[in-house]
Amino acid sequence: MSAWSFYISTLVVYFGVDLLSGISLNLQYGYAGVINFGYIIFQAVGAYAAAVVTLGPSGGAASFQQYVFGANLPFPLPLLVAAAAGAVLAAVVGAFSMRRMRRDYQAAVLLIVSLIAIQVVEADVPLFNGSNGLTGVPRPLLWLPLSLQGYQWAYAAWVLALGGAVYLLVRWLSHSPWGRALRAMRDQEDAATALGLNITAMRMQVFIIGGAIAGLSGGLLVEYIGAWSPDAWGYAETFVIFTAIFVGGVGNYRGVLLGVLLVPIIFLELPRFLPQIGYPGLTDSLEWIVIGLLWMLCLLLRPRGLLPERRFLARPEPTRDSA
């Protein structure tokens, strides 16, 4: 059953990574109403950043892969670098996209950024080795006295632990006064402005926090799979996570858990067990068609997801002596 154990532990790692993505997007879209159609580039930059600071100095154009700024940082520094890279990219992109503009324009601009980023990385080979991508990223802490299987599960546990920690942290943030301000901004932008909330600053905060979480998820992913290339971050990947939070529930962290469990696992992993049909690659196309249809169906039937956001009603505080 070793193959099964390996497979399940891999699924757990993917679940943890997708959970981080779901949390990030839910904070941005579910709470703040920022439609980040370029989410995947923040995960990608985290993955690239973590890869180049673990791969060691680049051998230049002569070696089999070239990249900028090679370094050999010990675990867990690459993850911090990944999160920082996500945050920095978010600050740069946010500087022109988080200003006050129509939300549909904003989303279109972010989608354009995502489409162009991939063209640039593919064309500019010295940056991150172009469309071949980076390979041979070493796994962290391999000296630990663990069997291959033990290491697998230890890594899965580590990803889950980080996912859980971020989950609790972001849920706490969302329930804080700051989180309430975010929802006010999402639902009634004018009223929120009238109350003195700085809309642009709040959007920037959400965007940068989300970017950092995305970068972290990319770092965790690249340290696990050991390679990263433009194939891994097509614009459509963003929509798997969006579909997950649409299915699960927008603005509800339990819904995010449910959606992340259902969508990437059931619709992208289970088809691996189905018999191969047609020519190689047809199954992949069909998977994406199903994701797209599921996405449209969710918007039609349950726009707020299976576990919708709970309504907060204004009611008087219970008096102390009654409790």
Binding site: R102, R103, D104, V120, A123, E189, A236, W288, L299
Partner: protein, 296 residues
Amino acid sequence: MWATLVSAIAFGVVLASIIAIAAMGFTIQFGLTNVLNLSFGSIMTVGAFAAYLGLEQGINAWYGLVVGGLTGAVVTLVLGRGVFRLYARRGAKLFEMMMVTLGLGLVIDYTVQAISRNNVYQFTVLQAAPLRFGPIIVTPTQLIVIALGAAIFLALEGLLRFSRIGKALRAMAAEPSLARSCGIRTGQVVIVTWLLSGFLCGLAGVVYIINSQSVGYTTGQDFLPLVVAAAILGGVGSPGGAAAAALLMGVVTQVVAAFGSAEYSTVAGFGILVVVLLTRPSSVLSRGSAETRLTI
């Protein structure tokens, strides 16, 4: 130096003609229906593949343009009346509708991928010896692309300015409820909008592959950033603005490719949009709670 610049500008005008055809369709559709249609690129791909299949059947390349345009028109109308209206009736707002169009784009793209077996197909028509005008070397195909872009721009401006349906279209884009109470048949105008913008979309797809000489399932989606950027830059709902923005972006893209690095030429085109977002944000300001409504 000068020769490089002049020929880069010439290539820019060719690219601009293609962007302009698509961006004019996009901006008419967006300006009137308020649907920011991100499946536009996918429908371009469908139009392009329709022309490819037509050519395989042995039809003339000129009819290929018509086949692509008509395919785009029919597909857009079916999607507009069938899919988008369904969501609008269920109370979808602007950005929900945009998400619907994205999911739809995903479905169309990967259906095309499944059918085309993920191959890129050669599309070679109108091959002829290049012509030389001083420093500029252009192929007759490129001249035709420029002429087509200019002709469509003039035809569209004429239609919108002088014809009855064009005036109705502009009136409705400005204020749908007022147009309706003036006796304009808004339902018909919407149908015309879907057909017209879809035709331009499919046509742009064919013109694009005539120029690039290959077609694959990502053809339209790769081109979409330039189209949407030109439409937003030119001011939504204004074909003239879209054409001007397309010209600017086409020329800047090619000049950067000639003098700087080819990798960053698209980024430079997009950079113009970013500069505009930073310096003249009034064109894209949110109107707060008084949000624009869908008219489909």
